[in-house]
């Protein structure tokens, strides 16, 4: 057991975080994927996924967290998530009913209330989950862990 100052919080918090980061992430992914059956969906699940990474950053130190999920990756995933959402929505215009965000994948009534029902909704939930998770992580990181430079930095919102 080392006595030097390690980044992050105390030994107990660090150990518990190392055990818990997997289940929290998994829980968040579960909420995103089952968004069409249970409450939650993209927003709620994305927040939980972001919380997993924020917990890693808080407990294990900023460097460790940024190595897992860097700012560049988060920023690109942010925009890519919303673009994916828009593309899926736009795909709805090419199909029969021809409207934006139309659900063009139909499911037979036997398959209702299962994971692979709901048409385009799980895909849109995943895209939203990606976006919300990376946006929230970016907001937290930019506000706390970065040295504020003299040049204007970006805002994490939106």
């Amino acid at each position: 057991m080392t006595t030097e100052r390690q980044p992050g919080m105390s030994m107990i918090v660090r150990t518990v975080t190392r055990w818990l980061k997997g289940p929290i992430l998994l829980f968040g992914i579960y909420i995103v994927l089952y968004g069409h059956i249970t409450p939650g969906g993209g927003f709620g699940g994305g927040v939980i996924i972001a919380c997993a990474f924020i917990l890693i950053m808080l407990a294990l130190g900023a460097q460790h967290g940024l190595r897992l999920f860097s700012i560049g990756v988060a920023s690109r995933l942010d925009s890519a998530g919303l673009l994916l959402f828009l593309v899926i929505g736009w795909l709805g215009t090419g199909w029969a009913s021809g409207y934006f965000f139309a659900n063009f994948i139909t499911t037979p009534p036997e398959a209702w209330f299962t994971l692979f029902s709901g048409g385009t909704m799980p895909a849109m939930n995943i895209a939203l989950g990606l976006k919300v998770a990376s946006a929230l992580f970016l907001v937290f990181t930019v506000l706390t862990a970065l040295k504020i430079a003299a040049t204007p930095a970006d805002e994490g919102a939106g």
Binding site: R76, S79, N103, P152, A153, G158
Partner: protein
Amino acid sequence: MGDFDMFGVDIRTLVPLFVAVPLAAALLIQLITRERQLLSGWLTNVTMLSLVLMSCLAIGGSALYHLGGWPSPIGIDLRLDNLATLMLLVINTVGLAVSLYSMDYMRRYTATGHFYSLFLLMVTGMNGVVLAADLFNLYVFLEVAAVASYSLVAFGCAHEELEASFKYIVLGSLSSALILVGVALVYGITGTLNMTQMATRVAETGMDAPLLLAFALFICGFSFKAALVPFHAWLPDAHPAAPAPVSAMLSGVLIKAIGVYVLARLAFNVFGAGDSELSLLRWLGIVSMITGGLLAAGQNDIKRLFAYSSISQIGFIVLGLGLGTPLGLVGALYHLVNHALFKSLLFLNAGTVEYATGTRDLRKLGGLNQALPVTGATSLIGSMSIAGLPPFNGFWSKLIIVLACVEAGYYGFAIVAVLVSIVTLAYQLKVQRTAFFAALPKELPALLSKPGREPRLMSLAMILLAIGCLAMSLVVLGGLRDPWLIGAAQQTLSAGPF
């Protein structure tokens, strides 16, 4: 109510693109081109040009677009009617001019990729507000545009910009909370958020006390957004402190798209306002006119003067709206279009002056007609338009509003409007005289020889807007007037299902 416009194109497919295209462009800029300034600038300009073309295609048409294919009361609708077309054309044209201008102006800032993304997000929000057919989506798009504008006001991160943006964001969030309370009340009373259905239910029950409370909350909330006195406190700080293209967008279109437009929609199409409710709008308009005009006359900072002048001109527009007569509405909408054009032109001029000389203080400026010829000429056109000199467009729209006041019997309001026009003329002449026509002061000797003091794209944008002003003064002669302005006015007046 066909889905085809006057060119025979099916505009039903165009309607969601007004919102989707700038949003996709904003995201693409973040993904691909963020480090490369020039590419993001050109992408923004191409997007705005395509939006302008789409708005031109949409003139005279109308469409009701059901998102996701869900039928009307259940689903989210986007509706394009005459008033929406008018607003879309104004927003996208001014946006195109401003994005051309910002290609050169924003060279002095860093992180311009973020600027273009935020700018496109603001345009998305404004287009969405104009097209939304139910109250909650209107609120969501309004927040998108508002948050983008809070960020844009603070963009340069200088002292004044941050302070102004903080004041703006606090007052903006306050007003959004008020609007949300109003939405909650209206939903509780009528049971629907779709504006068409709401209009039918309000017409059945009449304006009893809870609906009147909701209407009052909406007026308070949206008067904040439209910067009517006494809700104007954020505007004289936010508009001058922001970078010049942002000021032009804010003063030129944002306060109209999310303030005046929504007031008109709610007052006429949803609540079917009677005379007692409209009198509130009239009084707000008159007080804004007088306060804005008087406070503008005492300013020495050009942009602050123009900001107070915006408050005054919005007062004119809201007065015309509050009259409730067809002539009043035509005057109000015409003045809305005119003000968008000449106010954004004036702000772009002020931006060029600041870009070239480094100061906005009238007491230190002079001789700009020699140093900045394009700016001088276009600002002369802009000033004469806003002051209401014939034959420029400002004269015709103010004349129509004054005539509408007289026709409706409000002689006092008409006299006040004429007096405020004279005050407007006075302070615009002050700007012209001290900054442009006076001799070059001793402190700015090197200005005449400084290269690149009036970059080409900035001049192009200002010339475009000046041509727009001149073109709008010809609208009075009929032809373009009928499907556009008169149609929009009639659309607004007809309460109930539309």
